[in-house]
Amino acid sequence: MKPEEIERMRDEALAAFAAAGDLDALQEAKVAHTGGTSPLALANREIGALPPHAKADAGKRVGQARGAVNKALAARQAELEAERDARVLVEEAVDVTLPYDRVPAGARHPLTTMMERVADVFVSMGYEVAEGPEVEAEWFNFDALNFGPDHPARQMQDTFFVEGPKGDHGESGVVLRTHTSPVQARAMLDREPPVYIVCPGRVYRTDELDATHTPVFHQIELLAIDEGLTMADLKGTLDHMVQSLFGSDMKTRLRPNYFPFTEPSAEMDMLCYVCKGESVGNPDRPCRTCSSEGWIELGGCGMVNPRVLVACGVDPVKYSGFAFGFGIERMLMFRHNVEDMRDMVEGDVRFTRPFGMEI
């Protein structure tokens, strides 16, 4: 067994590995050069038959050659595997821009989420959410709120009346609530003061549906009853609300008005959150959101009329309170540029989807 012979076997093996272009070829080369019938394996087997003095030398040479071969094989193996892995990753590449609208997205109605958004401003302050029936006793909807039976304001709310025992003749004393304010009365009767609640809900008036009216709409009402509450507290609470919803530089403005259930009463406006009032008297920069008025009318508010406190079992000497309410549709319209009220009531998925889960 000549040393040159062994070196040749080794070199042939190394050359075969290097020549193997892929893992399959390498496998073949591996069998050919490291397998049981490979020249080096056969040479190894022959060592036993050598005279003792040659054994050690030949064993060492063959061993070294096999070591080098195995090392080269492993290196080539790793090299080819890495190449293959890289190729597979390239081959597995996809077009990630493909759409996956297998199940189109759902959405909650923006009126629902708008009510939640407003309610949450107050819930985080410690207010609780109160609810009441939509078909309501006139006493709760009107009388308890200081709308006497012949009060002109009572006629101003275009009320749906519910049939009573005598059908459409005679009065049932039951109406579709015209505002969320009856929940105020219920809350005062149900709870011991202090009372801090918000009442979002659906209300009804006999308006035909058009771009700016709907007979079924939504309001949110706030009521606070405690010792020593003042109109300044009302103002601060309103300021806090518009700041929470529209930004920390927002504020409100109160204008005297009349509501039977509050005294003093006020109309509340918020600073236009778009132009911040800068469009007023500035024809170069007109504001569509507020019609360049600088203020956006929100709703009504005031100090709870002590007569309402009496009717609802609250001591007007010890307690005072404030309340306000406004329409959710209107807020949705100016906050989200909704131009037509009908879009909110028709349930068209193209309208609702973009609003997602929260607003």
Binding site: P99, R102, V103, A105, G106, A107, R108, H109, T112, V123, G126, E128, V129, E134, V135, A137, W139, F140, D143, A144, D150, H151, F160, V162, E163, G164, P165, D168, G170, V174, L189, Y196, R202, T206, P215, D226, G228, L229, T230, M231, A232, G236, H240, K251, R255, P256, N257, Y258, E263, N305, P306, V310, A311, G313, V345, G347, V349, R350, R353, M357
Partner: protein
């Protein structure tokens, strides 16, 4: 209330530079809702002059009659020659004084006037109508014919007071006194800190016994009645220009001198007046309640049947007027024949509630009733009568009769006692006693006392009844805009209730599953129940009905959410969206078994619990429901492969989503109900206190129903009672114990009769497997000829695990065998391949 600024200035010396917008801002901050400021004549440019018609030549041969006129306009045209004008109107004659607009002028609406050829002539200007000048309706229906005494060449812009600003004020129901110039002037005077020239401060002769006889039979309904007589009226006298113009600017139409004067005084002082033709009144004027069924024809020509509560004015024959609302036709001033020469002027004060009821009962809201309902100053009645008399004398050449009738039911002025710091406490501002007293005096109150103020409210403010009313006066005059902003500190609240959180969770879960929320109107027509195929005695047919629905087609309130949701589905489909999944949560309304009237509880104390319960008993049940509808594809086809149509299983799964969110175990079983496909309808039930309660249905809708409703085939729906679902909630979930020992999985395929529900098989397997069973899942259902007719194969994966050890194969197999055995016993299931 429309308030011409020029008229307002008569009572308050507003600074000359003050514009309508300035006054608007001041009045708004004082609490008057000034909606608009109308700029009359803002774009009007002369020359606009008085002319006298010299000649009229009728032009022939045109489609309508046309006149070629020459008009003397003095020197206004620069030449002094007659002005040649073509005119289409016919209500004037040679010699009449008219309003002529000359070339170079611009009329409202940016209408520039120039000499132009028309009808074969050249017209150098126009003879004007009221409309063309933006004057409003003058009742003439043609061009303006001026009184003969105006001079030719006079500037008509000034003569007709064409340039003015008019504030349009929406008066709130509490501020009746602001339905008058006097009231608005009072507010303007306070706002500007200027003195008011009160037009009601007139010298009025004392009442005497020889005035027109009046008998008030109902002093509670009429606490004041002044009657004055004016004789010798010139029936030819017309309202002067200034009077007509003020009425027009205030939004009223000039009618005849006597009527115009009463309207004018009403606008000025807020006191509704009535003028009777004395020759048509027989005997004493009376005030009483009508007799039930009594008849009266009012000025608007309507014959009315009176109610016993109606307050009427009478003479010997019976009713001659609906008190405070509208006069009767039988004593009307004659403004066409012009024969009225003697009038009786009525200035009375009527009970606000009585007038409100009568106006409502007869659906007759008049300028008078509007004012009486909101409160008229009773002390102004005699001044208003005097003012009317004065104007009749001045403008109609009449003579005031010396007789003055006044019937007055005595009443004490209203006083309110408040602590001097009450407005401070309401506002949260330290105004101080001095400010409070000064502000109250400004609104007309008499104020006495130091720490306790005794406040006598003025006669024109019947709305001031309570301490807070006085507080509001002080706070508004001090300026709402000056209120500080403070935050109260509520006690820590409990946050949202479980029910409220569930509603939000359900919305999110359904939206997360691809459903879009729709909020539908609750109005339905009962025909929908027939379309739904509901049984005649189905409780859903019992509806709450509206007395005054918007549409007679939909007079009832929903007992199910489906009509609204399916309507939205159809609307979307019609608009080109066909793959739809919609949901809604909302109230449905079920009438009480026995309808009751909700009584009118007292408001001067807390109602008792029984009284509140009586209201509750009159209200319908209003549970909250949740529903979904599906149509078209639930999963769309795409590059990933085929789509999948929405089917009954999606509808049932929607119910399961709700049950999961509610933490309630939902029982799903085969059912049949109303609009659902009888073979593809799941009945949904829950356990409430150990009793099963059906809370809804889910599945595919009946093909016949879909056809009737015009909906796509295979449309699916689910509806359930959310309140009942919540009621059955298990409450807080308990943390499960997690075993870390290995799982032993066993699959079984069972052959059962086709009609055996999976739920029964699974329940038997579950029970039979015992406590080692961790979970069970149906992973295949199939039918084949090999299995045999009416058979199906259900394949389940059972996972077993113990909490304390690794299960042996034998243990798992024994549990599986026990499961299969019980399924076999209960459902006749046979293990496949066994």
């Amino acid at each position: 209330m429309r308030v011409p600024l020029s008229w307002l200035r008569e009572y308050v010396d507003l600074p000359a530079t003050e514009t309508g917008r300035d006054v608007q801002a001041k009045l708004i901050s004082a609490g008057l809702e000034v909606e608009t400021v109308e700029q009359l004549g803002a774009d009007l440019k002369g020359p606009l002059v008085v002319g006298q018609v010299l000649t009229i030549e009728e032009l022939e041969g045109f489609k309508k009659p046309i006149r070629f006129c020459t008009v003397d306009v003095g020197t206004a045209n620069g030449t002094g020659e007659p002005q040649e004008i073509v005119c289409g109107a016919r209500n004037f004659a040679v010699g009449d004084k008219v309003v002529v607009v000359l070339p170079g002028a611009v009329l409202p609406g940016n209408f520039a006037i120039a000499a132009r050829k028309t009808y074969g002539k050249t017209s150098h200007g126009m003879i004007c109508s009221g409309d063309e000048l933006g004057m409003g309706d003058d009742g003439s229906g043609g061009i303006i014919v001026l009184p003969p005494e105006v001079e030719v060449g006079t500037d008509a812009i000034e003569l007709l007071q064409l340039v003015d600003e008019v504030l349009d004020i929406a008066v709130t129901p509490d501020r009746g006194y602001c339905l008058s110039l006097r009231g608005i002037a009072r507010e303007a005077a306070i706002a500007y800190g200027l003195p008011l020239r009160d037009p009601a401060l007139l010298d009025v002769p004392a009442p005497n016994a020889f005035g027109y006889p009046v008998q008030v039979g109902d002093p509670a309904g009429c606490d004041r009645f002044t009657a004055r007589t004016v004789t010798g009226l010139d029936p030819e006298a017309r309202s002067p220009i200034w009077l007509r113009r003020r009425l027009q600017k205030a939004g009223m139409r000039p009618i005849s001198l006597a009527v115009d004067i009463t309207n004018y005084v009403m606008l000025e002082l807020g006191q509704p007046l009535h003028a009777y033709d004395r020759s048509r009144v027989q005997g004493a004027i009376g005030v009483r309640r009508a007799e039930q069924g009594e008849k009266l024809t009012t000025l608007d020509g309507v014959k009315r049947t009176l109610d016993a509560e109606d307050l009427v004015i009478t003479d010997d024959r019976g009713p001659i007027g609906l008190a405070g609302v509208m006069g009767g036709a039988n004593t009307e001033i004659d403004d066409t024949e012009g024969t009225t020469t003697e009038v009786v002027v009525e200035a009375a004060h009527f009970d606000a509630i009585s007038i409100a009821r009568t106006a409502r009962r007869h659906k007759l809201a008049s300028e008078a009733s509007k004012r009486f309902e909101r409160g008229v100053d009773p002390q102004a009645a005699s001044a208003a009568a005097q003012r009317t008399v004065d104007l009749l004398v001045l403008l109609a050449g009449g003579t005031a009769d010396a007789g003055v009738t006044e019937v007055i039911a005595p009443s004490a002025p209203h006083t309110i006692t408040i602590p001097a710091n009450h407005p401070d406490k309401v506002a949260g501002v330290d105004y101080g006693r001095e400010t409070v007293v000064r502000r109250l005096q400004q609104v007309g109150c008499d104020v006495y006392g130091q720490d306790e103020l005794i406040v006598t409210v003025p006669s024109w403010r019947p709305d001031l009844t309570d301490p807070n009313d006085l507080a509001e006066e002080v706070i508004r005059l001090e300026g709402y805009e000056n209120l500080p902003s403070t935050l109260p500190k509520p006690p820590a609240g409990l946050g949202l209730t479980g029910r409220q959180r569930l509603h939000r969770r359900i919305g999110r879960a359904l939206a997360g599953a691809g459903y879009v929320e729709a909020l539908n109107y609750p109005f339905i027509g009962e025909h929908v129940f027939d379309q739904f195929g509901l049984a005649a005695d189905d409780p859903k047919r019992k509806v709450v009905k509206l007395v005054n629905p918007l549409s007679d087609e939909e007079p009832a309130l929903r007992t199910t959410l489906l009509p609204g949701l399916l309507g939205a589905l159809r609307r979307n489909d019609g608009r080109g969206s066909h793959d739809l999944a919609l949901f809604e949560t909302g109230l449905v309304f079920h009438p009480q078994r026995e309808l009751r009237v909700a009584g009118r509880l007292p408001v001067d104390r807390r109602p008792t619990d029984e009284e509140i319960a009586s209201l509750t008993a009159a209200l319908p049940f209003q549970p909250r429901h949740a529903a979904v509808v599906l149509a078209g594809a639930r999963e769309q086809a795409g590059w990933w492969g085929k789509g999948r149509p929405a089917d009954w299983a999606d509808a049932v799964e929607a119910a399961r989503i709700l049950a999961r969110e509610a933490g309630t175990e939902l029982l799903v079983r085969s059912g049949q109900y109303g609009p659902w496909h009888p073979g593809r309808c799941a009945e949904l039930a829950v356990l409430v206190d150990g009793t099963e309660k059906v809370i809804g249905y889910a599945g595919e809708l009946h093909p016949g129903v879909l056809k009737t409703l015009g909906l796509a085939p295979r449309t699916c729906a689910m509806e359930l009672d959310l309140d009942a679902l919540e009621e059955a909630s298990a409450g807080l979930p308990k943390g499960p114990k997690i075993s870390t020992f290995p799982v032993a999985t066993q699959d079984v395929a069972l052959v059962v009769s086709r009609e055996i529900p999976h739920a029964d098989v699974e329940a038997a397997l579950r029970e039979g497997a015992g406590e080692l069973l961790e979970s069970i899942r149906l992973f295949d259902v199939y039918e084949s000829e090999q299995l045999g007719e009416d058979k199906k194969s259900l394949a389940y994966a059972l996972r077993f695990r113990a909490t304390d050890r690794t299960l042996t194969v034998d243990e798992a197999s024994a549990a599986r065998d026990a499961a299969v055995a019980l399924a076999a016993e209960r459902t006749g299931a046979v293990l496949r391949g066994a």
